[in-house]
């Protein structure tokens, strides 16, 4: 187990293995996204009260779920980077931030588009919407804090502390609709009892959630590969990689 952990810290190994994973995960992700989107948007039945406007759930819920889970990935990478001073953990943390920010923005935007016809307003300062906005600012905060430092070691440490402090927001977002009176409805997908959503709608939604998780992993690996090349650009193994690629093209 420890040898695997040490291998994770090696940039050439991580670069090679992520390339192999992406080779099959990327097509699988695209397939899942396509099937889920067509199933949810075209074939799932309309809702008895909202009609077709509920279909935004097939983008809104997966984006929100993965935005929350992605924060834990970023904070865990931050903790590993603080404790073991592992450079690849810095890379993972740095790469999570823009992806998480994009997903959070997508969740807020799709919620606003749905809220205008359904609630009657596109924005409300209730506990769920506000804590989700805080999550967006945390992601953007990590990005800008990283860019604010010239020294990458200091930047990684500051960002790790910020992302660890921010983890307290994740259970708040998740439980906000149960703890306080809010305009946002409680969760329809339940783990301990039957979901309050018809199975014909739930199945494509769960598929879309799986697809968004795969999309997150793909984007994370792609971003990490770019970041690894940027940092290791002067090393021997990257030069060799580029020369080999050049040869392959020449042939």
């Amino acid at each position: 187990m420890w040898s695997f952990f040490h291998k994770l810290g090696s940039p050439p190994w991580l670069y090679a293995i992520s390339g192999k994973i992406l080779q099959w995960l990327l097509p699988v992700t695209l397939l899942l996204l396509a099937v889920g989107a067509v199933w949810g948007l075209l074939y799932a039945p309309a809702d008895f009260r909202q009609g077709n406007s509920y279909r935004i759930i097939f983008v809104h819920v997966p984006a929100s779920v993965v935005a929350l889970a992605g924060y834990y990935v970023m904070a865990t990478a931050g903790a590993i980077s603080l404790i073991w001073k592992m450079k690849m953990a810095d890379v993972a943390m740095r790469s999570c931030a823009p992806i998480g920010a994009a997903l959070t923005f997508l969740a807020l935007l799709s919620g606003a588009v749905w809220g205008k016809p359904t609630w009657g307003t596109w924005w409300i300062w209730d506990a769920r919407v506000t804590s989700m906005l805080v999550l967006f600012f945390l992601y953007v905060g990590v990005i800008s804090l990283y860019e604010a430092f010239d020294n990458e070691v200091a930047a990684a440490r500051a960002c790790a502390v910020l992302s660890l402090v921010g983890t307290v927001n994740i259970p708040i977002i998740y439980k906000s609709v149960d703890w306080w009176y809010s305009l946002h409805q409680p969760a329809s997908i339940k783990f301990t009892e039957e979901s309050s959503m018809h199975s014909d709608m739930l199945a494509p939604l769960l598929l879309m959630i799986v697809a968004f998780y795969c999309l997150f992993i793909c984007s994370l690996l792609l971003y990490m590969r770019g970041e690894i090349l940027r940092r290791e650009g002067t090393t021997h193994w990257v030069r060799k990689l580029l020369l080999d690629a050049g040869d392959a093209h020449a042939v």
Partner: protein
């Protein structure tokens, strides 16, 4: 585990614990203010301020919606099944506004305990189903009673 790493692990746990404690205390201190609206029971009990903008949330009572014939004025009762407060609103209601459904209204309480609403928002619940299923459910509920 290496002692230096152990110490850093403790620092990480300290950051997590301390920030949770700090945010928890803030949320506890603001517990009343984080709620988006007052339920009618709190308004009847006098917990909501008079003459100041507040929000009230609950269910629209079945059969209580009275629409004016010559204006957009509409009157309805909101209940949390413990107390009921009447609201008056002039304007266009959201699509999902309906009797027996959730609603959040913003406005000012007048002397008679009526909420003069300036905004009505529909509060959607967590139930999603196709129209045929909803119809079947309604039928079986009607047959049972």
């Amino acid at each position: 585990m290496h002692p230096v790493r152990k110490q850093r692990l403790l620092v990480v746990l300290f950051i997590l614990g301390f920030s949770t404690l700090a945010v928890g205390l803030v949320a506890y201190g603001l517990r009343g203010n984080i709620n988006l609206f007052f339920p009618p029971a709190d308004i009847v009990a006098g917990k909501a301020p008079l003459g100041q903008p507040i929000r009230m949330g609950g269910m629209v009572v079945e059969g209580s919606v009275i629409r004016s014939e010559d204006s957009l004025r509409v009157q309805f009762d909101v209940t949390d099944y413990a107390a009921t407060v009447t609201a008056v609103y002039v304007g266009i209601l959201p699509d999902l506004f309906a009797e027996g459904q959730g609603v959040v209204t913003a406005g000012v309480l007048d002397g008679q305990g009526v909420l003069q609403a300036s905004e009505v928002l529909a509060k959607h619940d967590e139930n999603y189903m196709p129209p045929e299923v909803a119809e079947a459910l309604q039928k079986s509920a009607g047959a049972g009673s």
